[in-house]
Amino acid sequence: MWQLPYELMGVLALSAMWVNALLIALDTGGRWVALGCLFREMRRAAKGGHLFKAQVVVGHGEEGVFARREVKQIGRAMTVPGPRRILFTDKATRIEIMGGEGEVPGRGRLVVKPEEGATLWCELKPQWGDANAFEAAWPQASTFQGYDTQVERWVRAGEEVWVWLVEPPSKGIARARLVSTTDPFPVLRRARLPLIGAALASIGGAAVVTILALWPPLFGPVSTLGGALGLAFFLGIQPVGAFARDAGRLPDQQPVGGVWQQSVG
């Protein structure tokens, strides 16, 4: 029976590595491009006066809420050695833009109404409570069902927000597609960075590995080092790509998670 030459197997291995490296680059690079389009669209909107900073004066939701994001979480008691901790995982996320009235410098007061599908960009920081709250949560967190909780962020009167409108305000009414509690431009820049980094690392890493693996003499010491690095690269670039995808998510899709540790003393 015809034996498979190692050169052919090497081509097969390098091909598999390249196909997957290119797909990771295409995936992360595609997301980088998409965020770039969003960035440019926002910049045009800012120039055209559709994206601006405003101060919330009145919220039309209950208790004067202008917008809110809530993330349901499930907490499970950690069973690894060490202090008692509860590990939280996100479940459902809910975003609501109730709208209200905002004071816009140079434009006066605007009534902001949410467009369908409007979203909120904001940071969510879990605030789980004190030592007593931990003691109360621990037994439930130690069951199969886990400890259900919720992290919330409400935007109310007095807060500064960035509002991106679908179109210029008409008769003092503005229809919002995005409300953000932080400047959206740096947010997008930060999100894009890991994506392009992963795309370049994917192609660059594959190129370096290929050069080393093909270093003469084939299957010699340098070539073998290239083969070893190739396997490490193939296995390592996948989590790098997944990390970049996660880091490149928009703020309304970012997970909250978190670990609640029993306070000592």
């Binding site: 029976m1 197997m9 997957n20 295409l26 069973t79 690894v80 590990l87 996100d90 459902a92 997944a242």
Partner: protein
């Protein structure tokens, strides 16, 4: 729920319950599992044959090893649902062998498959292997790329789950499987790097990545919220003989405790007539060609409408998904 009770009942298929023929052997819970042992034995033999005996490094043995590697991952799936051996120690040792075959710790399946994937995103937590993780317009790229995304998500999820598991020895077992799988592969690397890379690691990774792709193949376009239309079935007879009945996926999701040898029968009893007929594919090969090779766009989701939906809506006693999830967790704890 009594875990022991569930296992005993489910180990005896109804077809064999009618006759007095024993389904177990002195070693195995089920005679049919000899096929699974044969698959793994043949696979490990092909790997070591290629490593130690140069004439075995030919296209036929190499392709066979890749195919068997995928089946080794299928056996991991089955074994982690239902331990093959009566001896718990043997089951644990067998997991190490399977882990070497797939180059990943077999026990990862408990969290990633039994506890998370089987319940999709019912509790609001996304399935680590959800088809929605890939979104290229050309669907073939999704198939190739899928393991690049869901692999890291899966192992990250397993690592998080292992921090909270109450399965007392999960972490030590998981570590043992890694030491065995990576250690043995590492030793082979030391003695012959290139032969190990080409004839051991490439088949190992083919199987490990293939089993991840199955999630896309079996669930893409299905209605994960439905009790019956959440999975695609491949019902070819020979295919299921080789695949240890893993083509019958709807019934496997609905009744994860059933032994794989009874899935064909239970599929006919419970699923046919209740699932959308478009989710019963006669051939996986034809499906793959039709879906990934002969078209460039992703097929539209399959959703029964109007009369069709009505036709498939008639009920059968299925425990609520929360209850089934709890059962799976208890089984994982007991295994």
């Amino acid at each position: 729920m009594d875990v022991e009770g569930v296992e005993k009942k489910d180990l005896i298929p109804s077809s064999t319950m009618k006759s007095s023929k024993r389904v177990d052997t002195w070693l195995l819970h089920h005679r049919a599992d000899r096929r699974q042992l044969g698959i793994v034995g043949l696979y490990i033999t092909t790997l070591f044959a290629m490593y130690f005996w140069p004439p075995a490094r030919n296209p036929i043995v190499f392709v066979l090893a890749c195919a068997l590697s995928f089946l080794n991952a299928v056996v991991i799936h089955n074994h982690l649902h239902k331990g093959i051996f009566k001896s718990k120690t043997l089951n644990r040792l067998f997991r190490c062998v399977l882990s070497f075959g797939a180059l990943y710790p077999a026990s990862a399946n408990i969290a990633s498959h039994n506890l998370v994937h089987h319940h999709f995103d019912d509790d609001g937590q996304p399935d680590w292997a959800s088809p929605s993780h890939v979104s290229f317009r050309w669907h073939l790229l999704n198939l190739i790329h899928f393991p690049n995304v869901v692999g890291p998500y899966t192992f990250r999820g397993v690592r998080r789950w292992s921090l909270t598991t109450r399965q007392a020895d999960f972490r030590s077992q998981y570590l043992m499987e890694q030491v065995f799988a990576f250690g043995l592969t590492g030793i082979l690397f030391i003695f012959d790097f290139w032969t190990t890379l080409f004839f051991i690691v490439m088949p190992q990774l083919w199987g490990a990545r293939g089993i991840l792709r199955i999630n896309l193949i079996q669930h893409d376009g299905c209605d994960l919220e439905s009790e019956w239309n959440h999975s695609r079935n491949f019902v070819g007879r020979w295919f299921n003989w080789i695949m240890c009945n893993n083509g019958y996926h709807t019934i496997h999701h609905n009744r994860a405790g059933l032994h794989c040898s009874v899935l064909a029968e239970k599929h006919k009893e419970e699923c046919v007539g209740r699932i959308d007929p478009r989710l019963d594919e006669p051939s996986m090969l034809l499906y793959l060609l039709r879906t990934f090779v002969f078209r460039f766009s992703r097929p539209k989701p399959i959703r029964p409408k109007g009369e069709v939906a009505q036709k498939f809506a008639h009920g059968i006693e299925l425990a609520p998904r929360e209850e089934r999830r709890l059962d799976a967790e208890l089984e994982a704890l007991a295994e």
